[in-house]
Symmetry: C2
Subunit: 335 residues, 2 copies
């Protein structure tokens, strides 16, 4: 990955004459990033308006949890850009093991959860139904029975899954929520820039973008989501906890694979809307974006980023703050 | 109270000729009810746009709680008409002792909380800051310090409390939230009816309103809020738990006064938006409005209401569902 970054940089240097810095930066950026798509479709779960509308209700539905206290929106709250302001949020029965990241754009990731133990958003939603740190239902059947008793949902499930004899199933709950989440896309000024409008970013943001590429952040944080498409060890140069002051040491993906090489390996988080979704890292141990960027330089790149570099990168990251789709800005009133 | 109801009924019968049933019902209703005001002002906490806007942010602000997990909106959620669908909702550190009712129109009550142990909405908000079943902060100072660190709030508090040298205080947090809540008024078709438009209610709703008055519900549930202006023993004819199947017996206001006559006495809850704010009673022990109405007939009036009576009363109660003000339909994005 590092080598290809270097080659790209050289390539870009050759193609553009000095002075046309904006176009050069744009060409460089296009090597690593792409604009957000309109949605994140899935062959297994086609997005339909009926499913999305049902999923939108279910996303806010606390009655999906065993004690009617917790919905998806408890950990992924509109007012915090569909993330949680707590380092770790309480689920129905148990504290969550890691920070609840934003679900905006998250359907576009290659896997779900910090340690990649969920295949896609549907898998994430399905397993949440029975997980004690999520909804804590004793079984899929128990939550199905509960939802079947709410007449309004019977009708909506029938419309969303017209071919199913019994449409209210845990799998269809997950599909509806997944379909809603697949529409949660938040394009920002950075997308305008990538589409050719070099004036969409301020000089400071452009400097930050350039720094983000030059110092090597882009090696992992790339693609449409500026992350979310690979695993990486957290703490290549030094242990992460030396800087994050984490309360406990999380071994990351090792918990899933039990392979030594997966120790401290996490999914690279997407950086879309990162300025709106503090606190940072898998355990929410760092509150400030400036500090998080500086720590990343230290432990991932072995670099002591200067104040100016951090400031510029943060300015660039703020340009990744997009607009929440209008339908997702307002919670539904539930039946 | 009962006698005055009777006198009113007789009075109305005299004034209007038979046949003009709608006008008669309107005149009868106006004896007991009044339309909602535009807001619920307070001499101690004048409503200003700056305070309301700040209060709206703080209402959704989870960082008011000791662990960043809980905001006012956790127990009073937009999607459930500013109430909770759980019988008892979890606070920051402890389960709430009683059901979290809607805060819509609640500022208009004569006292706050089921057992009247909060003077007004400001007192409720202030005490929530440090109560373990609410926000669980160890002290007022600790939450003040936390909010002072968020630059955006420093500015908003200065604007909302321009005369205060140090505007970020627990008392001002409570005043801002209170000011916001004082604007949460939800007029409905029932108000149109009370203002003279007798066509605003359907025939079934009118029958229900008449039954509501005739059987005696109106003795306690009256005024602009259809409740919320007196205390009453829950279980006049029979113990309430015989019907609600409550898991534990709540002695109500006795916990506050330790007077024998206050055993099982609760504040009469307002019935505005009651159809949208299940489950019912102080402990959320009853899920269906039909059942709740029938139980009230049994234990408060000593009457076994017929299926038709219950159906009509429920129809009337549904006409009390108002529109949530636009500013309160959308959560703010927090700084």
């Amino acid at each position: 990955m590092r080598k290809s970054v270097l080659i790209s940089l050289l390539l870009v240097g050759v193609v553009f004459p000095k002075g046309d810095a904006d176009k050069e930066l744009l060409a460089k950026a296009k090597q690593f990033f792409s604009p957000l798509p309109k949605s994140f479709p899935s062959a297994d779960n086609p997005i339909t308006p009926q499913k999305v509308e049902l999923g939108r209700l279910l996303f806010f539905e606390r009655r999906l949890s065993v004690n009617d206290m917790v919905s998806c929106a408890t950990c992924h709250a509109i007012e915090y850009y569909y993330a949680s302001p707590a380092p770790k949020q309480m689920g129905a029965l148990k504290l969550q093991p890691r920070h609840a990241p934003t679900v905006l754009n998250s359907a576009g990731q290659f896997v779900q959860h910090w340690i990649g133990n969920r295949k896609d958003v549907e898998d994430q939603a399905l397993q949440s139904l029975t997980g004690p740190p999520a909804f804590g239902n004793p079984s899929k059947e128990s939550v199905e029975e509960k939802i079947r008793k709410i007449p309004y949902y019977v009708e909506l499930f029938r419309k969303a899954f017209p071919k199913d004899k019994e449409p209210i199933t845990a799998e269809n709950i997950a599909k509806a929520i997944g379909a809603f989440e697949r529409t949660l896309v938040t394009p920002s000024r950075f997308d305008d820039f990538l589409k050719g409008n070099t004036k969409a970013l301020t000089p400071e943001e452009k400097r930050g973008l350039n720094t983000f590429i030059e110092v090597g952040c882009v090696a992992c944080h790339n693609g449409a989501l500026v992350g979310g498409n690979m695993y990486q060890k957290f703490g290549i140069y030094e242990p992460y906890w030396k800087y994050t002051k984490s309360e406990s040491i999380d071994e990351g993906r090792y918990a899933v694979t039990k392979k030594e090489e997966d120790k401290y390996v996490f999914k690279v988080p997407p950086l879309r809307n990162v300025a709106m979704t503090a606190p940072y890292f898998h355990d929410g141990s760092v509150a400030s974006l400036e500090e998080a960027v500086w720590i990343m330089g230290k432990v991932q790149l072995g670099k002591d980023l200067s104040k100016e570099q951090v400031r510029d990168i943060v300015a660039f990251l703020k340009s990744l703050t997009g607009k929440i789709p209008e339908d997702a800005r307002k919670p539904p009133i539930l039946p």
